[in-house]
Symmetry: C2
Subunit: 406 residues, 2 copies
DNA sequence: GGACTTTAGTTCGATCGACGAACAAGAGAG
DNA sequence: CTCTCTTGTTCGTCGATCGAACTAAAGTCC
């Protein structure tokens, strides 16, 4: 039940129906490949004739290709269809506090080459370095493919025009990085916040080969900071100023540690890796300065997790405490948005057996309905590179996105 | 950038384009009436011929009607079009803790008859009473019109099938009220949570005659409880289990008063009318029992507002304190969803001069970007009956809603 | 091995709807 | 009365869906 925006709508023209059906067909191929024309016709409840003409168009454009004949028990053997991803390339860039990662990938999310370097905090120098690496990657590793764009993920807020409004970890404020990289490389560049990008990755390249069925979820990354991406009806919510998704700064205790955002008691201040490490080390207060001192007393989040696994009671307590606070924040999200699922990413998933029960208990305690109390909270599989996959999705998603109508 | 739902999509058929354009046209008439065919053609960037045929259809169905000829400086005088609302009737019902309101209205939100009675807490008896009153209203006051349905608003959570999951103020749990009233009256019945309904009213019957331009906002009702309705891209967010919008229960202080939901430190526990009155009267703790004892020590929220207006310093302090806590909650909403606007409803808007500065200060302090810090917070005009207008919108909105495509 | 059945994919005419041009209907200006 | 300007209608064209007929390719039955 959406209102029609009478100030800026898109009317149906002669070609609208065809566009819609072409996109539906392309998405069906994407999610169900390999698939035959006859199968597509059945799924779309349409005559096979129409599928023939639509596929003919998509074949001519190179959006799909014909694969092998399938074996069927009776009748003529169908010619299977696939989406063309192999020679459509993307450069995904993940800028983090410690290191910056550059990945060459195809549209399907298959990794072709991954490299990284220590993050340069001067934006111009960083873009210079990135441009050099992108060009080199494309020259040496992109054999026979065409690069369709660059997706870049940043730990901070980004506006619609690719300007970084505020990235406390990098010390950036109002930095235009999209146009900078676009000019240097001559490629279209997309920039997004890391939490939002992870959510995008989960929509478009999620488990189950190109999108799992969940269309309402919240992605929460627990890392140096706490980022969130909100997805409603298969669409990432970015808000009026494109800065939605900062659930990391909902207050869950006014007397808690001071947060990098300046306020006190934020979810992030209680549950970031820094907070967990600080809790383990002993000082309950995390430092108020930004960028945060990363390896604190030489101990990292991974160390805490390893020690907890080895039976260190103080480490276990620090992690379950983090889980409890995280559960408090997730309960707020559950009540506020009632998602079908919450996905957790970040190092903390390495101690899932310790963290999950604390999260679950807190959600069950504070959720307002029985159904909401049972909202699944699932960890992102380790090593799945969600930020980089999000960067890929930034480039690949527009090709498959639903048309705006009405 | 929405994904196409490959499990449940709507393909474009021969008539899809026509449906889309008809709905756009109907919405243009709704928002810009009176309007001529030629104007519609210009706005839709379409030939006048198409407008003629579309309007002919809408006229035949009775969705629009032709009004008077307009005066223009040159050329043939255009025949103005209007949407037919006058004889399309709705019964709106608002069930509250103290009283239940029944309003007969037309599709345009014009009030024809309003009555109320003390709420009966037994659902069956309440539905009996409502059925009697609905029938009487329609028999005596609905002259020459046809009732297209009943919209019912409840202070609690409602599922998609019109079952009240939990309404603590009424003491209801798992009560099917939609089918109960539908059977008694023979009319289609829609049931919604009151916060969501207020947001709906603001989308569909908002200031500016049928929808203001704001398509991303959050409506917050501060009353016996704190309800919220989240609107993203002109669409009410209801979540997976249809219970989204309970921002009233985000934690903003773990050591705060106990909330009716069982948890501690909820936004609602700090900012409901009950909390404000309790703060004024002196006990910082509100009673833990539900339903709440409404007139506490004989003093109501309205009393506090009146006394604050008369210069009572304790009343003023209680209200600004409520504003401060409310600002804390709204800051969380601003960071999480980045709405273009926040709308506040409820008795508290009667002391807006006291409350607003506190809210604004708290949002400015905690918002993460300069733009978000300036998010407009506007009060719903007093006496605008937002809940009942929401109930009307429940029935009227589906007629004008955008088609689901893709 | 030839007829029959079954399924996949293509072709083609019917019909519907957008689109643009021509046309009729008012209304004021000169 | 004629010219101009604007509104609203009509009609032929063209693009797209839709269903029926047709071809292609496989296995099965007698």
């Amino acid at each position: 039940m959406r209102t029609i925006n009478t100030r800026d709508f898109s009317r149906a023209t002669r070609s609208t129906s065809r566009q819609i059906n072409r996109l539906i067909l392309l998405n069906l191929v994407r999610e169900l490949q390999p698939i035959s024309r006859a199968d597509l016709a059945r799924r779309m409840a349409v005559g096979r004739g129409m599928v023939t003409t639509l596929v003919k168009e998509l074949l001519a454009e190179g959006a799909v290709y014909e694969g092998a004949l399938a074996d069927v028990p009776r009748g003529r053997r169908p010619k299977m269809l696939h989406v063309r991803t192999r020679d459509r390339l993307v450069v995904a860039i993940d800028i983090r506090f410690s290191r910056t990662y550059v990945l060459l990938s195809d549209f399907g999310g298959n990794e072709m080459a991954l490299e990284s370097f220590a993050t340069i905090f001067n934006p111009d120098q960083l873009l210079d370095e990135l441009a050099i690496r992108v060009r080199r990657l494309l020259r040496t590793r992109a054999t026979g493919g065409h690069c369709e764009g660059i997706g870049m993920v940043v730990p901070g807020m980004v506006d619609r025009r690719g300007r970084v409004l505020n990235a406390p970890q990098l010390g950036w404020r109002d930095v235009q990085i999209r146009s900078g990289l676009a000019e240097r490389t001559g490629l279209p560049v997309h920039v997004e916040n890391s939490g939002a990008a992870c959510a995008l990755a989960h929509i478009w390249l999620g488990p189950g080969e190109g999108g799992n069925g969940v269309r309402d979820f919240v992605y929460v990354t627990v890392s140096d900071g706490v980022g969130t991406g909100v997805v409603v009806n298969g669409e990432l919510v970015r808000g009026h100023g494109h800065t939605a998704g900062e659930f990391g700064h909902i207050p869950i205790g006014p007397d808690g540690p001071r947060c990098v955002c300046g306020a006190q008691g934020c979810l992030e201040a209680h549950t970031s890796n820094l907070a967990t490490v600080a809790r383990y080390v002993g000082h309950e207060q995390s430092p108020a300065v930004a960028p945060p001192l990363f390896p604190q007393d030489g101990i990292t989040m991974d160390d805490v997790i390893v020690r907890a696994g080895a039976g260190d009671e103080r480490a276990r307590a620090a992690l379950t405490e983090t889980g409890r606070y995280l559960g408090l924040g997730l309960a707020a999200i559950v009540n506020a948005l009632n998602p079908a699922q919450i996905v957790i990413g970040g190092e903390i998933t390495g101690a899932w057996d310790l963290v999950e029960p604390a999260i679950r208990a807190e959600i069950a305690r504070r959720a307002l309905t029985r159904e909401a109390a049972g909202t699944p909270v699932v960890p992102e599989p380790a090593g799945s590179l969600p930020r980089l996959r999000g960067a890929i999705a930034l480039v690949a998603a527009p090709v498959y996105a639903a048309p705006e109508v009405g």
